[in-house]
Amino acid sequence: MVYPATPRPADKPATLQARGIMRAAITRSLRATRILATGMGSAVPALLGLPVLLLVAAMCLLIVGLPTLPEALRVQRVLTRSERNRAAAALGHLIPAPYRPVRGGWRERLVIMLRDPSTWRDLIWQTVHGCLGLLFGFFAIALWPALVIEVTMPVWWWLFPRGTVSAFVPITTWTQALTLPFGQSALAVAALLWLVPLFARFQLSLAENLLGPDRAELTERVEQLTETRTEALEAHGAELRRIERDLHDGVQAHLVAIAVRLGLAERAFTGEPDTALRLLQDARGGIEDTLGQLRGVIRGIYPPILSDRGLGGAVHALAGGQRVAVAVHMPADLPRAPAAVEAAAYFVVAESLTNVSKHSSADHVDLTIARDGTTLRIMVRDNGDGGADPAAGSGLVGIQRRVAALDGRTSIASPAGAGTTIEVELPCGS
């Protein structure tokens, strides 16, 4: 069987095609030149900032410089932010800032910043870009006029026979004037077409790789999120099944039983009023049981006091109903968190307090809740027996699972004889 030949783009006139390739190459070089030229804008402060950082670091050795270091790093981050934006615009995709949140006094800020690998990656970028950025920029910018001069070299030599220099080689004869610029121009063209785009690519990937999030860290984070997301989905599924079962086996079955009694009462109404009365009373008792069960189901889905009073009010109510004395430390203006977070926080506090009264023989509990930026922190500390072990099947596993499902962190410290401290961090989104 013969297939008809498909027309190919190559069927276009060869000259047109070559012109297109040329145009693309020139556009690419121009773009790369522009990138390297704007790169000088960040390279100058990067270069000038290096001795400043060195000075601050030297002062840190004498301790007095320590408080200035966070400020110096803050300035560095202003520079890296503008570079990140520049590179992002050229690359056409966003480069997220990878820093850990900085907070607290200068000591705390200093520790956070120095422990953040991003700070050190910034420093590497600053050194490399500070040293190479200016050279790249000058090189790319200078090539264009150099090319023009080389191409027009015979004219220059004709106009100024003395003192005409082609790329550092003085020209003395017509032969030289007609041959040398050929080679030099070819070199300049090669540099523009190949080296300049290469440098630009290098500069952009330097910014992307050193100023953006670390790939390995990102991968790890994605794996962790995938895992907690799976757990959250499983927990959610189990929760739905439990609610379904509670409604189906409990409430629905109860209602059927009530309907049966009412039907029988209807039949007995005229003939046996005593039986009818007993059945009616049974039916009302059944309804009361059902209402109680329904309340339990609702409480399990979302504690009503949470929606009435928010986490603060709900926790105070919980604390007030305990056998042990609970001291609640919580700001009065605790901002509201997403419903799922508040429900989890309530669950953590309720479970912890249940554990305290069941297992610890403590007589005092300190309950601290605070919002720290986008994190809700909960700490429950008792003065009981300690020695709590999540593996021993207490509510601790439930707490860990519920917290992990929201990408939070749980830490449990329970040395024997020295009380138990449960600390939980829950991210609140924004």
């Binding site: 309804i287 009361e288 109680g292 409480r299 109903g321 305990q322």
Partner: protein, 212 residues
């Protein structure tokens, strides 16, 4: 007696109105949201206000807050608070201004018509009606209560709900003399000052049961 009802759910509101009018009471005012309660009470000056905890506009605890505010503005106004669920903390807040003429019941209790009407009368007369579930929550905490016998705990719970000796005797199917004996034992064991069967006794018991 003259009643003001604050309830946004039409079905429930009609149910309460039906109950009250059947028992010979008069519903003089209706409030369907939190902000409407106080003006209605000030306008009608009822003998008792029946208020749902969760009301528009926020569907949080507007009714409870309005009830507390009403008690501050109209001292001695009997208030019966109804709720889909009971919360011991809410009971504590309601009772903070005194237990005279305070009721706090689950909506479920409306179904027991006689008991509900009895609670309504009791509160209107300046008595107390606390839901058994609140009392259970209150009594679940203290170790000193472990010293009581099972029967004494039952009597204490009924006292806390706001019942007098005669009613307690009827509910437990015992003689009134037996109840008096149990009450005496309870007060001795809990080291409470002896008091007669009026509000002072309810107050003493509730004060004892209040957390912290």
């Amino acid at each position: 007696m003259r009643i003001v009802i604050a309830e946004d759910n039409t079905l429930l509101r009609e149910g309460i109105v039906l109950l009250a009018t059947t028992a010979g009471h008069e519903v003089v005012g209706i409030a369907a949201s939190g902000p409407e309660i106080l003006p209605a009470l000030l306008k009608h000056q009822p003998d008792i206000a029946v208020i749902d905890v969760r009301l528009p506009p926020g569907f949080r605890d507007e009714g409870l807050r309005a009830a507390i505010e009403a008690r501050a503005q109209l001292p001695g106004l009997p208030v019966l608070v109804l709720s889909q669920y009971v919360e011991q903390a809410y009971a504590t807040e309601l009772l903070a201004g005194g237990a005279r003429g305070i009721g706090y019941l689950l909506k479920d209790r409306i179904g027991r018509v006689e008991e509900f009407l009895d609670a309504l009368d009791r509160v209107a007369a300046g008595g107390t009606a606390l839901d058994p579930e609140v009392v259970t929550q209150l009594m679940s905490r203290g170790d000193p209560l472990d010293a009581l016998t099972a029967r004494e705990r039952e009597v204490l719970a009924l006292m806390a709900q706001g019942h007098d000796n005669a009613t307690i005797a009827r509910l437990l199917v015992v003689t009134e003399r037996a109840v008096t004996k149990h009450v005496g034992n309870i007060f001795r064991k809990l080291d409470l000052p002896p008091s007669d069967s009026g509000h002072r006794r309810v107050l003493a018991v509730l004060a004892y049961l209040q957390p912290n």
